[in-house]
């Protein structure tokens, strides 16, 4: 999502949309749920770059090893 230009990704709701269907689905094997999510397009390159940077995950430096 962020690589595509979006920021503020948030899953808004989850619903089991397969329960009760007339035919069985392979979806159940993978724990599949219906969801609604939202995000917005970054307003500027600066905001987008900041969102990309926020994705970085640096491990704390080991010390005394």
């Amino acid at each position: 999502m962020t690589a595509a230009g979006f920021v503020g990704f948030e899953i808004h709701s989850r619903t089991d949309v397969y329960a009760g269907a007339e035919q069985s689905s392979s979806a159940a094997n993978f724990g599949t749920l219906g969801i609604t999510f939202r995000a917005r397009k970054a307003v500027s390159d600066d905001e987008w770059q900041a969102a990309l940077l926020a994705l970085s995950c640096e491990l704390p430096q080991a010390s005394g090893v």
Binding site: T2, S13, G20, G34, R38
Partner: protein, 211 residues
């Protein structure tokens, strides 16, 4: 803003799958939903599904029953934030048009909605329902989610419902949604969340994409 990835992001690999065969299988499945919604599918359809997902009765007022009957979404884009009068909306994979028509009602006559779908049977149903509902601020265009026939920075809001999961190249689809949105424009999507790892062999099995 587009087409950039770096070492801080991870894009999802595209399954090795025959894209044309996949699109044909999806079209066959959803043409059946359009023409015979009572057939019985592995997913819920129609008004019961809309109720399950929290579609408000007033949203459905005036929407022709054939379009409601072929609703096959997986979420509720309208629950994720309100639409404002005058806004421009793109509905990616609009199907029989239920979300496009609801959006057209919400944005009003000064607003505009473009629904895009690749299945002719669904588009025919959507266009007929727009005429029946007397909504002339909505237009339906044939096309693919990865190449929307919409100009850059046109939309205030992109909605989609149960479609992104059917597109192998999700990165391309998301970039295309970003392209048509104005800066700061919103994305409100219903789709599916897979909580267990899907083996590569399953990703490459077309029958599992539609079943």
């Amino acid at each position: 803003m587009r087409g950039v990835s770096n070492d801080m992001t991870q894009t999802i690999g595209i399954p090795a799958i025959d894209l044309e065969a996949l699109r044909q299988a999806i079209q066959d499945e959803y043409a059946l939903v359009a023409d015979q919604p009572e057939h019985g599918f592995h997913f819920l359809v129609g008004r019961p599904l809309a109720q399950l997902l929290g579609y408000q009765p007033d949203w459905l007022e005036g929407i022709p029953e054939p379009t409601i009957a072929s609703f096959a979404g997986t979420g509720n884009p309208f629950s994720a934030g309100p639409l404002q009068p005058g806004e421009h909306v793109v509905d990616v994979g609009c199907g029989g048009g239920i979300d496009s028509l609801i959006a057209a009602k919400m944005v009003g006559p000064v607003g505009a909605v473009v629904g895009v779908d690749m299945t002719p049977a669904m588009l025919a149903k959507a266009r007929a329902s727009a005429v029946a509902a007397r909504l002339d601020n909505v237009e339906f265009r044939e096309g693919f989610g990865e190449a929307l026939a919409v100009e850059d920075d046109w939309a205030d809001l992109v909605i989609s419902n149960g479609v992104l999961n059917l597109m192998p190249d999700k990165d391309a689809a998301l970039r295309e949604m970003a392209r048509v949105l104005k800066p700061g424009g919103r994305l409100q999507i219903g789709d599916i969340l897979v909580q267990k790892a899907v083996p590569q062999s399953a990703k490459e099995d077309i029958s599992l994409w539609t079943g």
